[in-house]
């Protein structure tokens, strides 16, 4: 697949999940899992007479993103009505922003830097909008296309969204993915978005080949799927071009199960959103003071963190970038290093082994770090450093820990990974046995025969691989310590 002059632009819709309430009303933003239509008020239900009032924290969140994406910030915040009829839109217009006369997005003309083959690339951000989420539609009989009617739940209606639109600067599905990953990491580092929440991040992708018509693929739910959908589209469109078929300008839907894009209903006429400034929401001045205030509170952003990782921990560009691509991962790395140092070794283990298996097993990173905790990982580091295990063995241990949710030490012993004549290691097992057999230990203080019992327990635990003499020696050492002799 040669580079057929591919142009890709992305529109990312992200919920500001850190907010407690919706964008224009004080309904809770925690709508997931609630019974339908139990998280609604006159405003987000669009009842006659209800009026919107903007959430001040949403404005600050938008400004944070604007600053992180190096955008030009508008000096006034104007909301626009975007008109179209649809069952999930209670007012049959969406309060949003528009880049046109009488209105403007909250921020414009920024960029994100992504890592591509051969270096770094600046991807321009066209604009950032604040807007409200519509409700949710369920298709009770059949699919979107076949269901005889719909069921609507307005719990999500009115949730605060940021729409972040890129210029068509991306040249491959891989770059698109890198863009989403970077953007997601920035939003995570700002503390504004938890991308693991269902529906928190949605992407519309626009792609054109060789200067041809632009195809829009709507509502893709993950960075991975974005890459897949675009890859598929390129193949589909290339085939069409080869056979002389014209590629239609249309909107398609990514079927995440069948892994294909399918055309959505073709509209007979051009949509006309009839934008005009929302008269219920007077323009709000964005003062320099407010921008300053927000700017002071900006946490460390991914690019800064990557630099710091490289400088402070001596990591390679590549390692640092991968670690910082997910905030949970970067946080995990730093915690491990706090525990046991060895940043380069830790970094390599996390990137090459931990992350690799987490991806393959499709576990959420936030869950995986609770299984292979920093403490656990540090045990591996310790063992590796002290030649108790080698790197090959480490690579086998990690997937097993993740898969079976067992301790590192348990896996190590159960799978006979180490020669248990190392005194320190053996001492730990002795300690465990003593803790598990307090009565026997007390007996052993008086009765030497009981020592044999304890030795036996150690042998049992290590499946007979412990050095019996050494074991005996260590148990006696322990007895001496505790009896004060």
């Amino acid at each position: 697949m040669s580079n057929l002059d591919v142009k890709i632009g992305l529109e990312v819709h992200t919920q500001i999940t850190s907010l407690k309430t919706k964008l224009f009303c004080s309904c809770s933003s925690d709508y997931r899992g609630k019974p339908p239509n139990t998280n609604v008020c006159p405003v987000c239900l669009g009842l006659p007479g209800a009026l919107p009032v903007v959430n001040v924290e949403a404005i600050k969140a938008a400004l944070m993103v604007a600053l992180a994406l190096k955008c030009r910030i508008s000096d006034v915040l104007i909301f626009t009505r975007k008109h179209y009829f649809y069952p999930d839109l209670p007012k049959n217009y969406q309060i949003s922003q528009y880049d046109g006369p009488g209105s403007m997005p909250i921020a414009r003309d920024g960029y994100i830097v992504i890592s591509v083959e051969g270096g770094l690339k600046k991807v321009r951000i066209r604009r950032i909008n604040i807007e409200e989420d519509p409700g949710k539609i369920v298709y009770p009989t059949g699919s979107i296309l076949t269901s005889k009617y719909t069921l609507i739940d307005y719990n999500r209606s009115g949730i605060a969204l940021l729409e972040i639109v890129s210029e068509p600067d991306l040249r491959s599905p891989k770059e698109a993915r890198a863009f989403i990953d970077k953007l997601r990491s920035i939003l995570e580092h700002l503390g504004l978005v938890n991308p693991e929440l269902e529906g928190a991040l949605r992407v519309d992708a626009n792609i054109s080949l060789a200067g041809g018509s632009r195809v829009e693929i709507k509502n893709i739910g993950s960075a991975k799927d974005v890459e897949r959908a675009l890859t598929y589209e390129i193949i589909r469109q290339s085939k069409a071009l080869e056979t002389g078929e014209k590629v239609r300008r249309e909107t398609r839907h990514w079927d995440t199960v069948r892994k294909v894009t399918v055309p959505l209903r073709v509209k007979e006429f051009e949509e006309d959103y009839r934008y005009f400034p929302d008269p219920d929401l007077p323009p709000i001045k964005i003062s320099l003071k407010l921008i300053e205030e927000v700017s002071q509170k900006l946490p460390e952003l991914p690019d800064q963190r990557i630099e710091r990782f490289m400088k402070t921990y001596g990591l390679s560009d590549y390692l640092a970038t991968v670690l910082v691509s997910e905030k949970v991962l970067a946080d995990y790395f730093e915690e491990c290093v706090r525990y046991c140092g060895n940043p380069e070794m830790v970094g390599n283990i996390i990137v090459n082994d931990f992350k690799r298996w987490v991806d393959e097993m499709d576990i959420e990173v936030s869950k995986a770090v609770k299984i292979l905790t920093p403490n656990q990982l540090c045990q591996l580091v310790y063992m590796l450093k002290n030649n108790i295990i080698n790197i090959k063995i480490l690579k086998e241990i990690i997937p097993k820990v993740l898969k079976y949710n067992k301790d590192v030490s348990t896996i190590v012993y159960e799978e006979n990974y180490i020669d248990i004549s190392n005194e320190e290691v053996l001492m730990r097992i002795v300690d465990e046995v003593i803790k598990e057999n307090p009565k026997a230990f007390r007996d052993a203080l008086v009765n030497p025969k009981a020592i044999n019992y304890l030795v036996g327990q150690v042998m049992r635990k290590t499946r007979g691989r412990a050095n019996p003499e050494l074991t005996n020696k260590l148990i006696i050492k322990k007895l001496k310590e505790l009896s004060g002799v």
Partner: protein, 496 residues
């Protein structure tokens, strides 16, 4: 009848005092009001929804008890008629439209909360032009309201029902809404007082939107004192309405002084007293001017040529906003409904909206959609908004050396039924003098100027932003001099 009439004839401010000293009078007052309603309602038809007497009496009893326990509500015991465009909790609210024929709101408008908080009692919802679109109340989907001064004439609109309820003594005070003159025009036609407050003074939370940037809820009463009282209660900042103003002083009662509180300079706009105005109206207007001059106030003439573009600019903006505000009526969450199964949304919505909306509403939505559509936005909506800016600037300049602008409220006497509907523009022209206040957001009051051939004529006063106090002062003075307060129209004269 005469004993019942004794309470009904009293003004609201007086009643509140009476009830405070003797709360048991509330019952007599409520019964008396319903007796009047029994006799005149079939003729004038102000109410779309009238609460049953026993329910309202029960409310009255509650207020009586509160008063006995020291409650000092400023509207305690008063019966209020509310235009059916204002949301009332658990009380049907229809906007005089089929599309909301059975809508029972689950919440109260802010103004209703404030009224109830002061002990006021809502007795019913009044008729109006459908979705406030009209100037005669002839566009109601349900029935016509008639002018109690002449049953063959319109009461004005769109707050016709509220105007008549108050004019015909079917309530003490009423709430209306004014997008382009909808309080002032019916006030003028029925001989009552009505004010459109400064934009942002009164909360629109719970006002079913038609022209968002133009409209305000306002009081409609039989005299200026009652207006000042009701305005003092409903005005003020509301955190649920982003367009409300943070105004400190909301006591309008202190402007009820019989002499000018300032040496007001009064301006007459040349373009508002020229052609198109009935002679009868002009005569009444001159009489009113003389009354002010007799108080030692200066009256001068000014010219605002751009004012002739106010009307088309107003309608463009109002219709645009209407097309947007009425998009939500699709029958899915409330209102007129058609079965959805098996049909797509555009089919179902088109059917609901085509059957549920009246013709005038449909026209305005279509035109509003047009002026916002791609390719026409600049030429119409944008340009109309520029005219709005010019008008605003002109009035700001004017008010630098003038305190009040006066005009006749309407160019003609109240038309007979059907007269204003022969031509689409005829209806719109009734708003000629009133739309300016909506476009500029300035406060404007209409008071009775004269009774001509048994039919009232109104005088309009427009002031600078937040000058309601001075308008009330001038209105009060005019009322004293003209004696035109608490008027009794022909239809009611036997009963009060």
């Amino acid at each position: 009848m005469i004993t019942l009439g004794r309470l009904i004839r009293k003004g609201a401010t007086e009643l509140v005092e009476l009830f405070r000293s003797d709360p048991r009078l509330i019952e007599e007052y409520v019964v008396g009001t319903y007796e009047v309603i029994d006799r005149v309602e079939d003729l004038v038809r102000s109410y779309i929804t009238l609460r049953p007497l026993n329910e309202v009496l029960a409310d009255g009893v509650k207020v009586r008890e509160m008063l006995t326990n020291g409650f000092k509500g400023r509207l305690a015991g008063l019966l209020i008629a509310v235009k059916d465009v204002i949301i009332t909790k658990n009380l049907r609210t229809t906007c005089a439209s089929k599309i909301l024929y059975d809508f029972i709101p689950p919440y109260n408008a802010t103004v209703i909360e404030r009224i109830i908080g002061e002990g006021g009692i809502v007795l019913g919802k009044t008729n109006m032009d459908e979705f406030a679109m009209g100037s005669t109340t002839e566009n109601s989907a349900f029935f016509k309201t008639r002018n109690p001064w002449d049953l063959d004439r319109v009461p004005g609109g769109s707050s016709g029902g509220s105007a008549v309820a108050v004019a015909a003594y079917e309530a003490s005070i009423a709430l209306g809404s004014d997008t382009g003159g909808s309080i002032r025009v019916p006030a003028a036609y029925t001989g009552v007082v009505g004010i459109k407050p400064t934009y942002g003074l009164v909360s629109r939370y719970g006002l079913i939107s038609y022209g968002t940037s133009l409209e305000q809820i306002g009081p409609m009463t039989r005299n200026v004192s009652d207006l000042a009282l009701l305005l003092s209660v409903i005005a003020g900042y509301d955190p649920r309405d982003s367009t409300t103003l943070r105004v400190k002083d909301l006591d309008y009662m202190k402007f009820l002084k019989p002499t000018p509180m300032k040496k007001y300079k009064i301006a007459v706009i040349k373009e508002c007293v020229g052609e198109g105005v009935d002679n009868t109206v002009l005569t009444a207007f001159s009489r009113s001017l003389r009354r002010f001059e007799e108080e030692g106030l200066e009256v001068l003439e000014v010219s605002i040529p751009i004012i002739k573009y106010a009307l088309p600019a107003y309608y463009i903006i109002a219709m645009a906003e209407a097309s947007s505000n009425l998009a939500r009526y699709d029958g899915v969450r409330y209102g007129y409904h058609v079965s959805v199964e098996g049909r797509t949304w555009d089919e179902v919505y088109a059917e609901v909206r085509s059957e549920g909306f009246g013709l005038e509403v449909k026209k305005r939505i279509l035109l509003g959609t047009f002026v916002l559509s791609a390719g026409y936005y600049d030429q119409y909506y944008l340009k109309a908004s520029k005219i709005r800016k010019l008008l605003y600037d002109e009035f700001m300049k004017l008010f630098e050396y003038v305190d009040v602008v006066v005009t006749p409220t309407t160019p003609t006497l109240p038309p007979r039924f059907g007269e204003a509907l022969t031509d689409p523009l005829k209806l719109y022209l009734l708003d000629t003098y009133t739309v300016v206040a909506n476009l500029t957001g300035l406060p404007a009051i209409s008071i009775p100027s004269d009774i001509v051939n048994g039919v009232p004529v109104g005088l309009q006063l427009i002031g600078p932003r937040l000058s309601e106090g001075y308008l009330i002062n001038l209105a009060y003075i005019h009322e004293l001099k003209s004696g035109l307060k608490d008027l009794v129209p022909t239809v009611v004269s036997g009963y009060v």
